[in-house]
């Protein structure tokens, strides 16, 4: 008779934990994990970046440390790490800041609930690594694939002396179902779905469920951001994080979706208009609104929970910050900018630019799409900008002091920003549902040009760029970060912190 299994001791007060992976590590991981399928398991050690936020812990798969010949037992069906493998990892842990962890498979079609052997292994390894990697989480993930190729997963993390279950997985281009996860199926949501039957018939029921369980962060809630927000709320995205530092002004009225006449007098923060509009469209949508900008801490703390980030600030430093986040925290992101060009009283250019930032894509600096002078001018205080411009004039506008050049005023109109925002929302929906991806790297279209003047600018990453070594490093890659928040910026304020229940940051 088998002895009764002692229940594994999880923390009584558990916290949301998100694990995120991206290509090419995921492809490499699954090739290894499934290498002895269908009957036998396999595993590997891995290194995780992490960020502790007020909402929970976010982990990113930064590197795999696949077993070398003889480091795992090939004679048995389950996973057995030899001592030399664990010792190699322990010594490696002392030389890096990443969190150690184990990822292994269960045989095809099996559940991913940890076995009692897994309980023993995790208990041993968490204790073992605490001596070599003190203060860091220890991560254990289990994946299994069924005959249809569907992947399910479970995970747990030893963090600050307690075990916590992984509450969410996100993976670029892959759908991973958390073990025990049940899709939302309340009557309320079924009623909601009736409002989106066209989308559901085009994309499928599963896609609609994914939208309900997804989180999208929109950076910028003005001309381009507000139509993104509207389209995503109408599509049934369940969780939205809206970030914008500004208050509404009368000149915004022509472009900002959801704004009403009364806002011209009240001048509310743009994020409040966004929240009001979302609630009017979909009262079930959970919303966090932050009056701030990337890369302020409060903003990053929330945005790292997103499945997709949509950048709508149309500023160079915003693109830099978005690219940094995408690379370090493995978050698919998309940036958008629009401008009007004119000559002789005619509109000659109506340009929309969209840039895709997958974690494996080249960063803004690999793409050479950033002008440091403009970034510097955007980031300096009004007082500093005025001082520099005055000084530059005094010095005779020398080339060596270019700050006399003013930042260009970007002219936009509502129909153009709405077009751009609608397209951006569409690509976000494509990513979330897995139905399509942006088929470009950096797209420009010109509504005034024949055939819309479509251009793409595919660039391969510069292998010597720091963006290659900071991939998936999360906070532990801060040494290579692209941008820091200026000291003169007002503190970011979390206006609406969203519901505290697991829905937002928990199981998706």
């Amino acid at each position: 008779m088998q002895p009764k299994r002692k229940p594994f001791a999880y923390a009584k007060k558990t916290q949301p934990i998100l694990v995120r992976g991206a290509e090419p590590e995921l492809g490499c991981l699954f090739k290894a994990l499934l290498s002895r399928y269908p009957d036998k398991e396999w595993g590997t050690f891995a290194w995780f970046g992490w960020r502790e936020t007020p909402y929970g812990l976010v982990l990113t798969i930064a590197n795999l440390d696949l077993p070398k010949h003889g480091e795992m037992d090939t004679e048995v069906g389950n996973v057995v790490f030899h001592e030399r493998y664990t010792l190699r990892m322990a010594l490696s842990a002392e030389e890096r800041e990443l969190a150690p962890g184990v990822i292994h498979s269960h045989p095809e079609g099996c559940q991913t609930i940890p076995s009692w052997i897994d309980d023993g292994m995790d208990t041993y390894l968490a204790d073992y690594f605490s001596g070599f990697a003190p203060g860091r989480p220890y991560v254990s993930l289990i994946f299994a694939q069924n005959e249809s190729g569907q992947v399910s997963a479970s995970g747990r993390v030893f963090w600050k002396g307690e075990w916590h279950r992984v509450s969410r997985f996100t993976a670029e281009n892959r759908q991973i179902t958390l073990f025990g996860y049940q899709q939302p199926s309340s009557r309320q949501l079924l009623g909601e779905r009736a409002l989106r039957t066209r989308l559901e018939s085009a994309f499928g029921t599963e896609a609609a469920a994914r939208l309900e369980g997804s989180t999208v962060a929109i950076i910028g809630a003005s001309g381009t951001g507000s139509p993104v927000i509207e389209a995503l709320a109408r599509a049934g995205v369940g969780n939205l994080i809206v970030v914008d530092p500004e208050h509404f002004t009368d000149s915004n009225f022509e472009r900002v979706h959801g704004s009403v006449r009364g806002d011209i007098e009240d001048v509310p923060p743009k994020v409040k208009i966004a929240k009001r509009h979302i609630n009017a469209i979909n009262p079930n949508c959970r919303v966090i609104t932050i009056q701030g900008s990337l890369p302020q801490k409060e903003v990053v703390d929330a945005v790292v929970w997103a499945d997709v980030i949509v950048g709508c600030t149309d500023q160079e430093h915003g693109r830099v910050a978005l690219s940094d986040l995408s690379v370090r925290y493995l978050i698919p992101a998309m940036d958008c900018g629009v401008t009007l060009e004119g000559q002789g009283g005619n509109i000659t250019g109506q340009i929309i630019q969209m840039v895709r930032f997958l974690p494996s894509d080249p960063c803004v600096y690999c793409r050479k799409m950033i002008t440091p002078r403009i970034v510097s001018q955007e980031l300096m205080s009004d007082e500093e900008r005025a001082n520099r411009q005055a000084a530059a004039v005094l010095e005779g506008n020398r080339p060596a002091n270019p700050y006399w050049q003013t930042l260009p005023q970007i002219n936009t109109v509502g129909y153009l920003t709405t077009t751009a925002g609608g397209m951006m929302a569409g690509y976000a929906i494509g990513w979330i549902t897995g139905r399509f991806s942006p088929p470009f790297s950096r797209l420009q279209i010109n509504l005034s040009a024949p055939w819309l003047g479509v251009t793409d600018d595919p660039v391969t990453p510069n292998q010597n760029c720091p963006c290659r070594r900071m991939r998936g490093m999360s906070d532990q890659g801060q040494v290579d970060m692209f941008i820091s928040p200026p000291l003169h910026w007002k503190d970011a304020v979390v206006v609406e912190s969203g519901p505290k229940e697991r829905g937002f940051f928990g199981s998706h």
Binding site: P372, N387, C465, S484
Partner: protein, 139 residues
């Protein structure tokens, strides 16, 4: 201190260049500054000191923003001899001292390479400072 600046100053220390990161006030605004201590000059033949301390403000949003400017202690004999106007940018108060900011912009057309945050930093800016102190004008 940001990890990025910490690493750059550590690289400078490895090369023998002493630096300190200090808080300062520039036109009543808080600003972080790096002080490069005893930067060698070639001013000996011109009757100038063999070294100088130089202050450089950390630009807002660093490293996305370009490092520029260089400051010398108020009263430094190098003031007026080094490249850049000295009367347009005021002074920085840091480390208990007043530093005169000089309009030196090596990465924006002032003689150095264009700013590349993936390659440049406070660890490379020392080269621009060495060049700066080595090209003093005769009076």
């Amino acid at each position: 201190m940001s990890k990025r600046i910490e690493r750059e100053l550590a690289l400078l220390a490895e090369g023998g260049q002493k630096t300190t990161l200090v808080p300062g006030k520039w036109s009543s605004n808080d600003v972080q500054c790096v002080i490069y201590h005893d930067v060698p000059s070639s001013g000996g033949e011109k009757g100038l000191p063999a070294t100088a301390d130089i202050i450089v403000p950390v630009p807002s949003g660093y490293p996305a923003s370009t490092i520029d400017f260089a400051g010398l202690r108020v009263g430094s004999p190098f003031l007026g001899r080094v490249v850049g106007a000295i009367d347009a940018h005021g002074s920085i108060e840091a480390n208990g001292l007043q530093w005169q900011v000089v309009s030196y912009h090596p990465h924006t057309g002032g003689g150095g390479p264009p700013w590349d945050p993936m390659a440049h930093g406070f660890h490379t800016y020392v080269t621009e400072l060495l060049v700066w102190l080595s090209k003093t004008k005769e009076i």
